[in-house]
Symmetry: D2
Subunit: 340 residues, 4 copies
């Protein structure tokens, strides 16, 4: 099956290529990049030298090529204009951007600053978190793959919500690769190395996705407030989801174990052990754990993911596997790299 | 004025020496270390080579020397047995450990596992956070200098508590130097570099200090639940103090600005800017900021400190200055090192 | 084919397991560890949770089990006593330690401090650098897999030696994982993070291996002096091999391209581009490059490897593939992880 | 004494301000920045908030102000046009750029690409390494402060040259702050974190300075070939200067100890101990050491400096102290920050 990767020169694009190079069922036939159009893969991704010999083309040129599936790692706001024509041709689409994640069109105006041109497609698009929507993804034409902070937050929170939490404070910590491959002051090495600081602290866009999905899960409104923090890691997103909930750690253990009992990529930590992004780097695993403190009272769920894998490229391929009728884990059962 | 530093070979001890080497009013005359007894300073602290020519002695030997003030950077549980004899000799003491921070003796059994032998000294000891107890520190014989996580949490939370918060969730992020100079698996470089993981997630000892002090501040019970996280920084402790409080950022700004208006070491960030441990490294400054999100609703206070300075050695000297009748900032107005 | 991994709880052991878990021809059936005997894999390697369900056994117990191949990641000086009995049973052995790398038995006394008990096996053992000894490895019973610094140095130097260099100054830079999984002051995170400092600067053991192999390559004495430096990376070994040689970069390009023209794991950089450990992390690739400066004159060869992969576990499996009659690249053609 | 800092918004500028804020004899009265003109210091240097209340002005405006000394941290090629007018007004100048470091004007065309407009000033300018030119600096109107890589290389090499070395291979390792405060792909955090790679490997500009100064030292041509490497540190430059020289470590010790016996900022390591950038961070110290290996034979000198301090701002103030008739160490005897 032929796959096109749109926006293949950034970090998420590179990670999609890394996975697909070794994938037994998919072959990358088209890759796009505005900046690298006409240049070979290794110019943008020197680590892939010798492993993939394609050249980047412009997005417009890619639309004239033939392929079976499209993975879109484009900046927010661009894929919404590209996707309709892909779907028309019968191409299955996994969009790694935000353009089709939210069900309520009005939220795009509030959180992204533009009016959504395809509200009907919003309804059709499936939120690509297989742990919540496995069956719908199998039948989908268009999958909106979740944001990395949203993925970590939802996986950390879902069992708490099942136990009754309706207000979730998601304190998230992320590595610098989450900001993408474009240099900026905030990701300049001397500034970012060793940093600990919040950003978007008055509310991060991904809390809207998380709120939508957690509410759907229990059929009641679940409010999520997210405060992401930049730390000095390169890879990794870690969500600490806190709720005011009186529940002991035995109950928490049962809730987490039950919720994730059949999940191939979610590993539940034992009581007293906590997830660490170091144990999932380079893999599609999400390690989840929990703790409670009666003093507030507080119950916390934790999730550690590789933001470029389970938080982006890995999860997108997980959905693509499902859409294509493959075993969900095909080409994704990499052990994490450790220590790294 | 002659100062003895007990437990001078660890990181906090090294930082006390670094400050005192340049301090205009104090001279270090005695330094103790079990491991380095008989050896010169630079064996434990190669960065201080040529700046201080003392040799370490054993604790027992130090007790026979004469000095005016003692700074104790000993492991928890040791200073409680040393301090009474120092006080008897009229020596002013700043204890950087936990042995005299808590007013309620029963908490030592719960949180530290031993019965406190000097409950009467607990009453006398002053919690060494000048922002809360400046005048009492001036008159104190014994100052119990706060823990680093507690310092960051209290500074981030106090204005929120003034605004009405009675339950504070303190999500703290810390660098590896907080664990001290003794190697362990958790601070082994390949394991710690790039890590993001919680520890003591069912409740950290420092939440008891924070709760005590914030309750004192408003004369009502304030509950604090603390979840510290290890990240890949070397220095730095960052507290994100979250409370369910409906308050806009204008009010928050006023509350923070008012509370810290006369504080020489607390810098309040402007609305929309957040503290970063990178901006306080090597200094005694605490940078504080705030944010609110109406969706939960949530109000957050943030504090960034250098855990070895405002979180330990710097704050201890700040108290020592006060005890000695000096200007509080004497020998402490270092600009932070940046980028570092 | 059944494989036993001796010394499986350290970093090299973990990396062997990571590769073998996905290897199509080998199955790990026995793993040893003194420290973790009786415990499941994930206790030592939490990243492998759910991917391998073996328990560690003691070395003595492993010797009673049946398997076809043994990979030894034991501390230097131990494998020399274990290997003879393995060979007697007809088991193919790849030793990742130094015990069988040197041909001249007297060098063990000089550089390792013990007299070699099996000088005849030294003669038989094949130095496991496939780029130099591919055919001999295919027929070997015992492969002595090279040290990481030696691998990088040899790969950086070989084309220079072919061009006439007989004295090579190898200035090597390495990450902290090279020191193994046991915590120490030098790899304590606050000490190692951001460090730049030499070690073994009066001559490193690996220079003897490199000298032996480069001399063999040209049938003349080649002297190598190695100065390794600890830097703040976790993974990666980088060799800068400098020789006083008048040769322009065009010639260097041809020499490097020719020497590595058929090597599946060596990628030659274009003139003016240099290798970077970041482009090989997690993979078995060695990226090599070169530069010359007429002012001295100086010619330099550069090699970047992942010390745990091409510098240890990956290279050992590369040899094992050859010994087992498999395609050399089987189970090893991982793309590097980047950015990481 | 009033000091103007030209180019004050970059890292070197920030470091000059950090030193001057606490300096007992100098007061910063003018600071320039093209990018930050009109803005307060803390916009460019948030760590200096509350410590310095100046606003940046444009370079042209600064030239109309009155001050006694000027420190220039401008991009290469700009100060050569500014300095003549400053000197005419009787202002003492320390230039931290390269425009006046080389005595031979023709080298500017070769290495910097422009013809030098003031060859007569080249003759007058004093190379600002106090360890070599202390007395001339005292009398200078114009000091050309050395490059960071050159400083480390010269300090590591000088005693070797005194012992007879005439060809020096300087393998240098540097942190990311050396590239300045402007973001770029090479210093983008995900790319630079953990990197090990050479740059300017066919000969770095600073080798010309080092060659000039080492030749002057012995009155004979000394050739220097420099290969700098980017590593993942933020601060720090480390030079490993290698020469083919048969000399034992006792002789090396004596040569280093003698050469630096009266230097306030150079600390000589004991035999078998090596410098580490971690021990000099934030300070003006240079730690130097040595090693020899008879196998090549090779003698090595090592120097660890903070590139922004002894490699830039600290060294410039050291010269300024001398020019102003002050004690050389005034305002510079900071202990290093460790661990950091």
């Amino acid at each position: 099956m032929r796959v096109a990767v749109f926006g293949a020169s950034g970090y998420t694009g590179g990670e999609l290529l890394r996975i697909l190079v070794s994938h037994p069922a998919f072959t990358v036939t088209v890759i796009t990049s505005r900046e690298y159009a006409g240049k070979p893969v290794y110019m943008a991704h020197p680590h892939l030298k010798g492993l993939l010999s394609l050249k980047f083309v412009k997005l417009e040129e890619a639309l004239n090529r033939e392929f079976d599936y499209a993975l879109l790692a484009l900046p927010h706001g661009i894929s919404k204009d590209v996707i309709p024509s892909l779907l028309e041709k019968g191409i299955g689409v996994v969009d790694l951007g935000a353009d089709f994640r939210l069900k309520d069109p009005s939220l795009y105006e509030t959180w992204y600053g533009w009016k959504h041109p395809n509200p009907e497609l919003l309804e059709e698009a499936v939120y690509g978190l297989p742990e919540l929507h496995r069956d719908e993804i199998r039948d989908a034409r268009l999958v909106a793959s979740p944001g990395c902070n949203a993925t970590a937050t939802i996986l950390a929170s879902a069992p708490l919500v099942k136990l009754g939490a309706r207000k979730v404070l998601a304190d998230v910590k992320v590595g610098s690769s989450e900001a993408g491959s474009k240099p900026s002051r905030g990701t300049h090495h001397p500034e970012r190395s060793g940093a600990i600081r919040p950003y978007s602290a008055s509310g991060h866009r991904h809390q809207v996705e998380a709120s939508q999905e957690l509410s759907l899960l229990v059929g009641e409104e679940v409010r999520v407030s997210m405060v992401p923090h930049s730390v000095g890691s390169v890879r990794g997103a870690f969500a600490s989801a806190h709720a005011e909930l009186e529940v002991d750690e035995g109950e928490l253990w049962r809730a987490f174990a039950r919720f994730y009992s059949n999940e191939p990529f979610v590993r539940v930590m034992q009581r007293g052990s906590y997830p660490n992004v170091k144990n999932v780097l380079g893999s599609n695993f999400a390690d989840v754990g929990f703790a409670s403190d009666p003093s507030l009272p507080r119950a916390s769920g934790f999730a550690a993911i590789d933001n470029l894998m389970k938080g982006a490229a890995g999860q997108a391929i997980q959905s693509l596997n499902l859409m294509a009728g493959l075993e969900e884990t095909t080409g994704l059962m990499y052990p994490p790299l450790s220590p790294a």
